[in-house]
């Protein structure tokens, strides 16, 4: 992590808190404030807190800041609130219900397996465009992109007027095969603009499906276009408000929006959909950079917060999990997003006894949230949570929660666990609390195990990056079963997503559905039309250059990576592989691509999965254009001493350890008094303002030269 220091501000707006990470002239500041209804208010508030920490006026901080990166959940919030504009949908006649039918079991999208099994209760999501606002127009294109039925323009104008009469404020156009031949979609927009010109009061913004995402599959393409149209106005309004406030206070640069695809882009280069999951994806991309810094090939990234446990996987120096079927709320979309697998396990997750099946203990996915929160918050919550168990077991210091800003009540935690868990099971509170901790840790470990295995990887060869408010408390428990022997915790763990954004580059992704036969079934040799393939890649590169030039960067700053969705001819599942080169010269180059595909494929499916003679095709081309920004870095410190100074030891506390079969007086350390090179052997508890590191027997804690914390399992 090199390059000279730059001044940057990273803001991550989450459901509960707004996090801020500032790099300013070699110093860093972190700040947190509760999320506000008007995001711009919280945005400026958290900046002010950070400026105060640096003893700067906000105007000075902003005027000297080179770059601001921003990840926001506003689109998600607006979607949940259903407060988007009233839209009309124009589609091919005879297919007006496609987005409502949702390929059948649309109701199963975005809900838990448990809920999806309850067939009597399932229901489809409330559509973003009502059936009354959907019209079909007379036109048709076929799978080759040939026009089968000419667009009947008078019919279109008539239906357009019907929509306007119903009060629609914008139009989404999604016609069959428009990604193959967009002529009718383009002509439809021309007609809408003729009828409702930009200069008129009745101007209607128009979103065309092929422009939003030129990919095969009308259902996902339609939803992608609809979501972008639905969320764009509120997102634009929010971003404009923030930009104005920042500029008034002296900021001269651009705001870069963190994308769920793993990069950042200027506001004008951002669609609403791209803002989804920006925060959690930032954590994965940041981890990728840190993994490179430590020369770690294989890393599991685990974020345990208040309500969920999210994991990402880095293997061979790149993020492994593309979201195969991206879901936004209950809508399947067509977009390249990095997936962070999530389960409902966090500090606020509620423990309960299933009334049947032998009084089985269950945790989550329901969370007590921040209000009323765990029982120990003393805010009226009566349900026992993971945090309550952590308090009872002595891991969390009730007097030092959030650095002592928030007093926890151990008695209330005990009472909730007694009433809801211990008493019904006929066990004592201690055992009930242990069961809660072991179950939540085990569940998280199980998911981690499964997801890495599904990628054909062995989790035992991985390092775990643990962050989020509850991550450092539970990370050793999570890895207990799976022999992961190395964990890294960052000093800014609760601000990790915001910090990670400071490591992100500008990224433009262009996707294009186009079938190229690489080898025919039952035939030897390759059959790729190299000229056509190279032409397609060239076109995408030109488009990316145009895009980046629009963002005031030079084409020579760009790095290109070509990824391809490939499959065996008859197969349905696509495997995304990175092409070894951008342009193919001859069959030997194609053979190299086939080798990459076969190798990647066999990692997951084994040699038995290789379909010899099955033929291979490319279905989608994905071009990534990366423009590196000047990013943050870890300052390097000098190793001071291995033994912590005496004042770092805060005292002793009774803490429960499985290894000792009960409570044991345990050393408690003040994290902020530790120095570079300090080593602590478990069992110990290390308390920081916003995190508590739980170090069991058999683990050693070390602070490295970058002030990052390593937990290593002793052999």
């Amino acid at each position: 992590m090199e390059t000279k220091p730059i001044n940057s501000i990273e803001i991550d707006i989450g459901g509960t808190f707004i996090d801020c990470f500032v790099h300013f002239e070699g110093n860093t500041a972190t700040a947190k404030t509760p999320t506000t209804f008007d995001f711009s208010v919280g945005f400026m508030r958290v900046l002010k807190i950070a400026a105060n920490q640096l003893r700067l006026k906000i105007e000075h901080l902003l005027s000297k800041t080179d770059i601001i990166r921003y990840s926001t959940t506003i689109a998600r919030n607006k979607l949940l609130e259903r407060t988007g504009p009233e839209l009309g949908l124009i589609t091919t006649e005879g297919f007006e219900d496609s987005v409502l039918i949702g390929k059948g079991a649309q109701w199963a999208d975005g809900i838990s397996k448990r809920d999806a099994r309850n067939l009597a209760e399932v229901t489809k999501p409330q559509p973003l465009i009502s059936r009354e606002n959907i019209v079909g127009i007379k036109e048709r294109v076929d799978y080759r992109g040939e026009l089968l039925r000419p667009l009947q323009e008078e019919d279109l104008r008539e239906k357009l007027h019907q929509l306007v009469d119903k009060g629609v404020q914008g139009i989404v156009v999604t016609l069959l095969w428009a990604h193959k031949n967009p002529f009718h979609e383009l002509r439809t927009r021309e007609i809408i603009e003729e009828e409702y010109p930009e200069s008129s009061i009745g101007y209607l913004p128009v979103v065309l499906s092929h422009e939003v995402q030129p990919l095969k599959g009308e259902y996902k393409r339609s939803l992608t276009a609809i979501l972008n149209a639905y969320l764009r106005p509120s997102l634009a309004e929010n971003l404009s408000s923030i930009r104005n406030k920042l500029h008034k206070q002296g900021y001269k640069g651009e705001i870069y929006i963190v994308h769920g695809s793993g990069g950042v882009a200027e506001i004008r280069g951002t669609t609403a959909l791209e803002t989804f999951k920006g925060g959690s994806v930032a954590g994965i991309i940041g981890s990728l950079e840190i993994a490179r810094h430590y020369s770690l090939e294989n890393v599991i990234v685990a974020d345990m917060g208040g309500t969920s446990f999210d994991i990402g996987i880095i293997s061979n120096g790149k993020s492994q999990l593309y979201w195969e079927k991206p879901l936004i709320d209950q809508w399947t979309v067509n977009s390249t997003l990095i997936e962070s697998k999530s389960i409902g396990a966090g500090g606020g997750s509620i423990a309960r006894i299933s009334q049947f099946l032998g009084k089985k203990l269950e945790i989550g996915p329901e969370s007590a949230g921040s209000m009323p929160g765990p029982a120990c918050y003393n805010q009226g919550g009566v349900e026992p949570t993971v945090t309550d168990a952590d308090v009872v077991l002595g891991y969390i210091n009730p007097a030092f929660f959030h650095g002592g800003q928030f007093q926890l009540e151990r008695d209330l935690a005990e009472q909730a666990i007694y009433e809801k868990i211990a008493h019904p099971l006929g066990i004592d509170v201690e055992e009930a609390a242990i069961n809660i901790k072991n179950l939540v840790d085990g569940n998280m470990g199980n998911v981690m195990f499964k997801e890495t295995h599904c990628q054909g990887l062995d989790p035992r060869n991985f390092t775990l990056f643990s962050y989020g408010g509850a991550g450092p408390t539970h990370c050793c428990g999570i890895v207990k079963t799976y022999q992961i022997s190395h964990i890294i915790i960052f000093p800014f763990s609760p601000f990790f997503n915001a910090f990670s954004a400071s490591l992100m580059d500008i990224l433009h992704i262009d996707e294009f559905s186009r079938k190229f036969i690489v080898s025919h079934p039952g035939e030897k040799g390759t059959s790729l039309d190299i000229r056509m393939f190279n032409q397609a890649v060239k076109k995408m590169i030109e488009k990316a250059k145009h895009y980046v030039l629009g963002q005031r960067f030079k084409p020579q700053d760009l790095q290109f990576y070509l990824e391809l969705d490939m499959k065996y001819t008859k197969q349905l599942h696509l495997k995304r592989v990175r092409s070894p080169i951008l342009f193919f010269q001859d069959d030997k180059d194609v053979e190299k691509l086939l080798e990459v595909f076969t190798s990647e494929y066999s990692k997951i499916f084994g040699q038995a999965g290789i379909l010899q003679g099955g033929g291979i095709s490319i279905e989608t081309l994905i071009l990534q254009a990366v423009c590196p920004l000047k990013n943050a870095y870890f300052p390097k410190y000098k190793r001071i001493r291995s033994t912590p100074l005496s004042h770092a030891k805060k005292g002793l506390r009774n803490v429960h350890w499985d290894e000792y079969g009960g409570y044991k007086q345990t050393a408690i350390y003040d994290y902020h008094a530790l120095e570079c090179g300090n080593i602590i052997d478990g069992p110990a508890v290390i308390e920081a303002r916003d995190m508590t590191i739980v170090l069991p027997l058999g683990f050693t804690f070390t602070i490295d030269l970058y002030m990052n914390n390593h937990l290593e399992r002793l052999e």
Binding site: G94, I101, Y143
Partner: protein
């Protein structure tokens, strides 16, 4: 041929042995909870790997299951897909154990791979193919993994794996009894070639998908071996035993909370595949204390076509309801069958003889699916479990098959999965059913996009949308089905087949005053000029099936008849119409909120005729504003007319028992009037 009933009937768990019960005591703290979740995740992994490595469209739709079974062959848990496969894996493993374990020429050893697709030995129908792998630890058989999926081609007399012309098992293509197809974790190529030869319409698909099943199974095998190595064999036995035992106990407890009594239902279907004719199925549910008895006595005899089922297949269909509704929150283990007995008379179409054609067993079982839904909803409603006491969901199994050579010159044979995956949901006691809800046999399955279908298959979709008036009406209506029209293009010829029924008599029956959904005719147009009209910009092409058939703007030879439709060749430009059925309504149509009626009208779920003549809503024909007063009056009048038409029970029975359909209709019915 003798049906191996000893094994096919062993769907209940084997009696637990003292050692197995003792192993439960090894589970401390949250061992059980964690292990159960771990096993479920292992199966999910196996399922995902299988889906990703297979090729057939039913894999894409998710019509699969990957299951874990005890060493004795009892289902422990599954990741699915379809519950059918999870249940039917069990008798087939028990058969393998009985027949081959001690047979020196076969045996069961580490690395063995078994295959079966003959329903006689415990399967569903031969399109549903299973792979089994034994899991060993330190030389002892520890568990079994299975992976199953529907294969859309079996080499039968008709393409598509579910021949409707079949008269006996000899017409239905490849049927393989449980046999070893691999050793040392490798499939035997000669056996794969044999299968490909038997399924020569789509040989590669057969090989690829057997391989996909094996990959899914083997992943489970590998993970379980790791798990046993870490935790020990007794620990695993304890977890398996507790999963089965706790399910059984909870099912018993739950049943005991329902009221005792007897509940009955009867349903009919109108076709046996090779011929039209009325077929009846009857179910009597008796509940006493903590036990249920489902008795299908009174069901019509075995038919001379392919719409027959074996007893275990019928019971497995009951699982679709039981796992999906009253026991949806329990582990998917064999334990649920422990307190439930099922009686299906041998020789009936739901318990046919081994020689019978059963390629469409899933379709005849739509009768038993509807029956169990009705009798169970009755007892649940009476027991104040109203939220799960729903009207029956659409379950006609609206299957259309397409076969031939596609526009790229590649041979194919496949189910058209859109209508299959879009039947309407049943109405609930407090709200409507879900429109285009799904595929009851595999509730989470999805239909394909038009663009996916048109790229791979040589036809164009003229329209594909919700089918107006297809829902069952009621205070709360059932969900609507869909309609689609396919036009052959880019090839000279293809073959289509329709397996759906209910063109004359609806399988789904009314529930608590709610109406059953509508019946659908079979429609096709030969020698159409639709492509020419399309090219010329003809403005009035039909946008749904009503316009197609009423306006006849497309020239051609119209055929309107009854489903099913045996495999027929269609030429370029010919049109076939497909539909899926709606769900059943709940409650009296006269109690439906007029606003809800008008909303359905605006959304084209119902027609004006239905709004006016079924729901008796009066509204302004121009503005569609409801006339509340006149609506109330019309509904009162309709109630009075009902009362006027009412009869005493004796008077009704006197008239009713004199009625009898023609003998032509009753030729497959069995005794008239039969048991009642």
């Amino acid at each position: 041929m003798t049906l191996e009933t000893t094994f096919t009937e062993r769907l209940k768990p084997e009696p637990l042995e003292p050692h197995e019960l003792k192993c439960i005591e090894l589970l401390k703290g949250v061992d059980y909870e964690l292990a159960q979740e771990k096993l479920n995740l292992i199966l999910e992994e196996g399922k995902e790997i299988m889906i990703q490595s297979g090729v057939s469209s039913m894999l894409r739709s998710g019509d699969i299951a990957v299951g874990l079974y005890t060493a004795k062959g009892d289902l422990v848990t599954t990741a699915c897909g379809s519950y059918l496969y999870a249940v039917c894996g069990q008798p087939q493993i028990k058969y393998i154990l009985h027949k081959w374990k001690n047979q020196p020429t076969v045996g069961i050893r580490p690395g063995d791979i078994f295959f079966a697709n003959d329903a006689v030995f415990g399967g569903v129908h031969n399109a549903d193919q299973f792979v089994f792998m034994p899991i060993f630890y330190q030389g002892s058989l520890t568990a079994w993994a299975t992976a199953a999926c529907h294969q859309p081609e079996t080499g039968a007399c008709d393409p598509g794996g579910m021949p409707i012309k079949a008269l006996s098992r000899y017409d239905e293509g490849m049927k393989i009894s449980p046999m070893k197809i691999g050793e040392g974790y490798l499939l035997k190529d000669d056996i794969l070639e044999m299968m490909a030869n038997m399924v020569s319409r789509t040989p590669q698909m057969q090989i690829f998908d057997v391989r996909a099943r094996m990959i899914g199974c083997d992943k489970v095998r590998l993970r379980i071996e790791e798990f046993v190595k870490e935790k020990g064999i007794d620990f695993l036995t304890g977890v398996f035993t507790k999963m089965i035992k706790s399910s059984a106990e909870e099912v018993r407890r739950r049943i005991s909370t329902w009221i005792d009594g007897t509940f009955r239902a009867v349903v009919f279907t109108d076709n046996i595949g090779v011929d039209a004719g009325l077929v009846r199925s009857f179910c009597t549910l008796t509940k006493k204390k903590d036990q249920l008895i489902l008795d299908f006595s009174g069901t019509s005899p075995e038919t001379p076509g392919p719409y027959n089922s074996f007893k275990h297949t019928t019971i497995a269909h009951n699982a679709i309801y039981l796992y999906g509704f009253p026991f949806h929150d329990l582990p998917l283990s064999a334990g649920i069958w422990e307190p439930i007995d099922t009686i299906v008379p041998l020789g009936s179409c739901l318990n046919a003889n081994p020689e019978a054609a059963v390629g469409n067993s899933v379709l005849i079982c739509s009768l038993s699916m509807c029956l169990i839904h009705i009798v169970m909803s009755k007892i649940l409603f009476a027991s104040k479990k109203k939220t799960i006491a729903t009207s029956p969901f659409g379950n006609n199994g609206d299957a259309f098959v397409m076969s031939g050579t596609n526009q790229m010159g590649i041979p194919f044979s496949d189910l058209l999965a859109y209508p299959l995956n879009t039947e309407g949901g049943g109405a609930r006691y407090d709200r409507d059913g879900v429109d285009a809800w799904g595929f009851p046999w595999c509730p989470w399955g999805k239909g394909p996009d038009v663009e996916e279908e048109e790229e791979d298959k040589p036809h164009l979709h003229l329209f594909q949308k919700l089918l107006k008036d297809s829902c069952g009406h009621g205070k709360f209506r059932g969900g609507a089905g869909i309609t689609v029209a396919w036009v052959v293009q880019n090839v000279a010829k293809v073959v289509y087949q329709s397996n759906m029924r209910s063109s004359r008599v609806q399988v789904l029956q009314s529930f608590f005053g709610g109406y059953p959904p509508s019946v659908h005719p079979a429609i096709q147009i030969r020698n159409s000029d639709v492509m020419k009209k399309m090219k010329n910009g003809y403005p009035n092409l039909p946008t749904d099936v009503y316009e197609l058939i009423k306006n006849r703007e497309i020239s051609g030879d119209y055929y309107v008849g009854a489903n099913p439709l045996e495999s027929q060749t269609f030429s370029e430009g010919d049109i076939l119409v497909g539909c899926s059925h709606g769900g059943v309504g709940f409650g009296d149509v006269l109690e439906r909120d007029p606003e809800a009626v008008m909303k359905d009208l605006r959304q084209e779920i119902i027609s004006e005729w239905v709004a006016q003549n079924v729901y008796f809503v009066v509204y302004d024909p121009q503005t569609w504003q409801i006339d509340d007063e006149n609506t109330r009056k019309r509904r009162e009048s309709a109630r009075r007319q009902r009362i006027e038409k009412g009869k005493t029970y004796t008077a009704f029975m006197k008239e009713w028992t004199r009625q009898k359909p023609s003998l032509e209709i009753l030729k497959y019915y069995g005794d008239w009037p039969g048991e009642s």
